[in-house]
Symmetry: C2
């Protein structure tokens, strides 16, 4: 979902961006009118996330999935080893991709309980010589979210924040690298935002495709080739909208309040059961089920008829999942809550 004011502005500016006579889709990425959009978007993201000068923002194509490869290709060579936390589908895919480029240690995993929880700090077994420690901050399929930033001492911290970026403040200085596919909270699909400590770049594997070199992206200010200009423009509009909501600090309050509406129903319910353990619950993706697959299917079907799309859980988990990203309004969450209460009354 994208905020309606963002879509309305994009529509209004589609054929003629602010008197330029051009659509943003048509602008040369080297033109001043576009560079102004690009620079403002970067500056706003830097301000909103309080990104320190030690770090650079890169806009890279290929979404989070290409970052699963870019991270080890650029970073694992330092020692040849990396530590991964496996807490769901996407961290497992990232871990498997990293195995192509070096030795991978699974520092912790939640697979013993079907990824229904986030390991605690004490569960993490670090290698002494890992090039980095990797974790996925929010697991969309399982509905779990890291509520703390792992302490990895001198081992650089890398995090996939694709599904909770911009929903919560982050102390960027603790991270060597943060990346996020943009399509959850930021912009249309087709790009990843990469926030990288500049000192960690420059040691990529010699076979790294040029466009995947973090050093090249830093040196070229993400303009080695034509960047996804229009996606960056939409991100800029989303950031301006975000500031009207109080920035990430405001968004954190809103998203916690939205998630609490659904979690309160789960905690009081005799029909619905929350899938994730309470201390590990995601505020972006609420996963739940009923006592039977038949009743799950009935819920999904009736919800769809009532206008609630995409409530079916991922095929690997079954059950249900309510994704309540930044652009989901309070009213939408409240309407879902009302529907769940009504379903409970009718099916208890």
């Amino acid at each position: 979902m994208l905020p309606l004011p963002v879509l309305e502005q994009a529509a209004a500016e589609m054929t003629n961006y602010r008197g330029s006579g051009m659509s943003v889709m048509e602008m040369s990425h080297r033109s001043q009118v576009y560079i102004d959009i690009f620079d403002e978007t970067k500056a706003n993201l830097k301000r909103i996330l309080k990104i320190p000068d030690t770090h650079e923002i890169c806009f890279m194509q290929g979404g989070a999935t290409l970052q699963f490869s870019a991270v080890p290709m650029n970073l694992i060579g330092k020692t040849g080893k990396a530590d991964y936390a496996v807490t769901g589908n996407f961290s497992e895919l990232a871990m498997k991709e990293a195995q192509k480029y070096g030795e991978v240690n699974i520092a912790c995993s939640s697979s013993d309980k079907k990824h229904t929880y986030i390991p605690s700090q004490g569960d993490i077994k670090l290698s002494q010589d890992a090039s980095y420690f990797y974790y996925c901050a929010n697991n969309t399929i399982y509905g779990t979210e890291w509520k703390y930033t792992p302490d990895t001492g001198s081992i650089p911290l890398v995090s996939d924040m694709s599904s909770n970026m911009l929903s919560v403040p982050v102390d960027v200085s603790k991270f060597a690298l943060i990346f996020a596919g943009v399509q959850k909270n930021m912009a249309p699909a087709g790009m990843a935002v990469v926030i990288i400590d500049k000192s960690i770049a420059g040691n990529e594997h010699p076979l790294t495709p040029k466009l995947m070199s973090y050093q090249l992206m830093i040196d070229s200010d993400s303009m080695h080739n034509t960047p996804p200009c229009y996606t960056i423009y939409i991100l800029g509009l989303v950031l301006k909208w975000l500031e009207t909501q109080g920035g990430v600090e405001g968004m954190e309050k809103i998203k916690s309040a939205k998630a609490k509406i659904i979690y309160d129903i789960l905690d009081d319910s005799k029909v619905f059961i929350g899938s994730a353990e309470p201390g590990s619950r995601s505020d972006m993706n609420v996963t739940f089920r009923t006592h039977s697959e038949e009743l799950d299917a009935k819920f999904v079907k009736e919800a769809l008829a009532a206008g609630f799309d995409n409530l079916k859980g991922h095929r690997v988990t079954g059950g249900m999942r309510a994704s309540i990203y930044n652009a989901m309004p309070f009213e939408g969450v409240q309407a879902l809550a009302d529907f769940m209460r009504k379903f409970e009354l009718e099916n208890k």
Copy 2:
């Protein structure tokens, strides 16, 4: 440039795509409403370019630049060698990238005459055991275009058609692989269309990033991860517009007639000199200069004041360049021609 009717339709459908209640930017790539857009776009491209069933269309992120890496990573392993035609900046970049992955033979080059011409068939020195022969069909910086399809016998043919795709019919069956960054004639920047003979995929280097594997893209129908959904939607709108112009056959007539207007001026002029040799002239990018850099600068400055953007040549060539992609209307070319005639009268 994008056709105005495409931008107008995109604006009209921005907040609510055909009664779906959603923007295309917000649709899940697995939803039926989006899959219909995706399938229709692929089907239209297949029909317009008469793509045979032996070939698959893939939508890949990273533009042409990531294909410079993907081509050798996927294809050079067969024999460890590849032949490259170097006829400009982008083919040279592609050639240098390929050197990371195997042995590269420069089968022909136009660097002896500053890339002002396209080598003839007789100039091409093929290796006996090349995995493929690679050429860039249109050289945007130098304003040259291959007017023939090289005959490489049993050596698979690979072409970068980023800047003339959809401007001319292509016998796809002759090619093992065609790719095109979409931002010239097809859609906003951030994607490459790859048309691949399915039989050539599946032998990628073991370190190939997962998202760059042609076999995976074929097997997943470009949906291994979330594709750049909105870019594909715009491509779909462009293809529908293209069919109203008579498809690639109609576009070929239009683009030749548009280019001829400018080339006729160059041939008659005592002030302007065409940069490319007549038999190698591009219909997409017309490069020219005057007898002095001062007069070049004067032309660019006065043209800009008259509303003609982007006429300055690339920094490696100097001079001027008029890019007349598919979406440039006849009237725009005619206006430029009038301006050039006026400038000639004032400066001869």
